[in-house]
């Protein structure tokens, strides 16, 4: 089933220099009750975005009109905790296509890749550089080139990132894992019989 293809992205970015952002913060469990994949963006970072009386917390970056864009830049160990794919869905639904961090939790990384949300792991130094560039100019634009596997800042500095060749092909072409696994169905049947 084809998904949206990932092409080169040029965008401003939203900085969130907090470490260990867990999936309970990205989307709290009480908002996991829907039975479809859509609409989770509304509750992205719900308890950081809103006070208990539902009024927005102006100091939170997603409520600050200074910052916008399709790239979220976050501190290390992003996406730890619960396996809820709703975390990836809510980021994507909100409008993010890329998350940049210096370290990702495993399950989140898989979930993101399965939903055309590109997790990009950069060095601690480059992450600091990105945060500094955004701090200096909130409208600075980052260029993410998946085919070249690099992130370029406006001052020309850049860093390449790793992505598995298979996942890269999937993202560039909008393929998903089930398409591949379904093509192995006969092999799986044979394996099961012999297993």
């Amino acid at each position: 089933m084809s998904k949206e293809k990932f092409i080169t992205l040029v965008s401003t970015a939203v900085p969130m220099p907090i470490e260990n952002i867990d999936t309970d913060q990205i989307i709290p469990a009480r908002f996991l009750k829907a039975t479809t994949r859509e609409g989770f963006g509304e509750n992205l970072f719900r308890d950081w975005r809103y006070n208990s009386d539902e009024t927005p917390r102006n100091e939170f970056v997603l409520n600050d009109p200074t910052y916008s864009g399709k790239i979220l830049v976050a501190g290390k160990n992003f996406g730890c905790g619960s396996s809820r794919e709703h975390a990836a869905w809510s980021l994507y639904d909100h409008g993010f296509s890329v998350v940049i961090s210096s370290f990702f939790a495993d399950i989140f990384k898989n979930n993101a890749l399965n939903n055309a949300l590109l997790p990009i792991q950069v060095s601690d130094e480059f992450l600091k550089k990105i945060f500094a560039a955004i701090e200096k100019n909130p409208k600075t634009r980052l260029t993410v080139d998946l085919s070249q596997q690099n992130v370029v800042l406006e001052d020309g500095s850049s860093e390449t990132f790793d992505i598995n060749a298979y996942k890269k092909t999937c993202l560039l072409n909008g393929y998903d894992d089930i398409d591949y696994l379904l093509s192995l169905k006969d092999e799986i049947k044979h394996f099961e019989l012999a297993h």
Binding site: K33, S52, E85, E187
Partner: protein, 476 residues
């Protein structure tokens, strides 16, 4: 050609359907568990593709995350929760999957019922759309949590695409001290490794301290592997494992069981097998543990002080600590002993097995809870609940002023009706102390069932060893 292999590698290799250069391995899955929260979108995906479930007999469903723990015979009050459980009720029969629904004698938390029904066996690959699937690794299998897209993969093909993780051996040597139980071991390990220290690894736990543990205790350890970032954790099976499995409802019986045990005896890492990382800890260094912060790596021995800002090397660690402690309403460099708590939660896939309930009962028998605390005991399954009643534990809890509820994930995750109110402190036997995990603005101290029971009696954070008359067992 074969080198000495780890147990992890042996099981992984035995389940590879296709391994191609540049591709993740297509791994065959022996057992798949599903629940109401992470499965509806996967079933929808199957419908959109017009395909059926590849092998429905290998998937088992239950309702646990989003269920009330009181009056389960009545319709679920909250409309969205009811709809989600009803969606599972519709999807399971439509795709031919066995469902242990509310009220069924086998219903319960997915990671509690798998082992107790004998569905979880050594040597298997096991997945579920839940990160605590690592629990099942206690039986010597590869068990890990997956996302909903992967749930759909398993339903459609009985396989998942996965990259082989690195391997880590964690050895615990020696004998545990008084009042120290499995939960303390794993909280201690996570406090040493941090909440990301094992990311990218699959852990094997070994050593004398692990060998001496019961299956329930081993499950507690493997359960929290994910809290240091590991995809899963496993323990080589032994006589303790085999005797736990023997006679379980869906476990192989008679001669076929005996034959399997003979095969299972070979499920261990070869002498000299290489791990990517090896860590060794001494049981005597471990004490009753408690967390003070907002991730499970922020734990200390209950007799230690919360770190001071000056104890931390980097400014980012200092920022994290300040942010966590501000949320928790605590001060750096202080002790938690004597800190008043408002709630005690004994439950979750980490610590809601019959042995956990027995441990709590042995501690509180003949005592009463402190006036300032509310205590919830939530059994992990209908079978645990029934057994607790048969053993008279319900009477001990009732006399102590504890509420014995019905099975479910309850206050572990702030999703169903059981939530800790804003600003309140809960000492909890669950697995996560993230901000708002037990309810918006709730504050969680993770601890063992023994420490939670002690706090229930005193109404404050307590060193369980100080509580006179404590029945401190050593194999949990």
């Amino acid at each position: 050609m074969q080198q000495q292999r780890t147990l992890f590698d042996k099981i992984w290799d035995a389940h590879i359907v296709r391994s191609s250069e540049g591709y993740p391995d297509a791994l065959y899955i022996d057992r798949h568990f599903i629940h109401e929260v992470t499965s509806p979108q996967a079933f929808d995906g199957l419908r959109k593709r017009g395909i059926s479930v590849f092998n429905p007999s290998r998937t088992t469903a239950t309702a646990d995350h989003n269920v009330p723990t009181k009056d389960q015979h009545l319709p679920i009050k909250e409309a969205l929760s009811r709809h989600q459980v009803e969606t599972l009720r519709k999807n399971c029969p439509e795709f031919g999957i066995e469902l242990y629904d509310l009220g069924h004698p086998y219903q319960g938390i997915v990671h509690i019922i798998g082992p107790e029904l004998g569905l979880t066996l050594p040597g298997m690959t096991i997945v579920c759309g839940d990160s605590h699937t690592s629990t099942h690794g206690a039986f010597g299998n590869i068990a890990f949590g997956i996302g909903t897209s992967e749930v759909e993969q398993v339903l459609a093909t009985q396989c998942v695409l996965q990259y082989r993780p690195k391997t880590m051996l964690i050895e615990i040597n020696g004998t545990l001290g008084n009042g120290v139980v499995a939960k303390d071991i794993i909280l201690y390990i996570i406090s040493k490794l941090s909440s990301s220290g094992a990311t990218g690894y699959f852990v094997e736990y070994a050593g004398e301290s692990i060998r001496n543990l019961s299956m329930e205790a081993r499950m507690t350890i493997c359960n929290m592997s994910i809290e240091m970032g590991a995809r899963g954790g496993l323990i080589a099976p032994d006589e303790t494992t085999f005797s736990y499995i023997k006679g379980r409802r869906f476990a192989p019986q008679g001669e076929s069981f005996d034959r399997l045990v003979e095969q299972w005896r070979h499920l261990k890492s070869d002498e000299g097998a290489q791990y990517d990382e090896v860590l060794t800890f001494e049981a005597s260094d471990i004490g009753p543990m408690i967390t003070y912060g907002t991730n499970p790596g922020m734990g200390i021995k209950v007799t230690d002080r919360i770190p001071a800002l000056a104890d931390l090397k980097s400014s980012s660690e200092q920022t994290s600590l300040s942010k966590s402690l501000a949320y928790m309403g605590l001060e750096p460099g202080t002790s938690l002993l004597g800190k008043a708590v408002d709630y005690v939660f004994i439950g979750s896939c980490t610590n809601a097995r019959i042995e956990d309930l027995r441990l709590v009962a042995s501690m509180v028998k003949g005592k009463k809870k402190a006036a300032n605390v509310e205590v919830w005991v939530v059994p992990g399954s209908k079978q645990v609940e029934n057994q607790a009643r048969e053993e008279g534990l319900d009477i001990i809890f009732e006399q102590a002023g504890f509420q014995l509820r019905q099975p479910g994930c309850s206050a572990c995750l702030g999703m169903n009706e059981d939530k800790i109110p804003a600003g309140k402190y809960c000492i909890s036997t669950s697995n996560r102390n993230f901000e708002g995990r037990q309810g918006p603005k709730s504050r969680t101290f993770l601890a063992s069932p023994l420490s939670a029971a002690a706090a229930a009696i005193t109404g404050k954070v307590t060193d369980v060893r100080e509580l006179a008359g404590a029945a401190l067992t050593s194999n949990n």
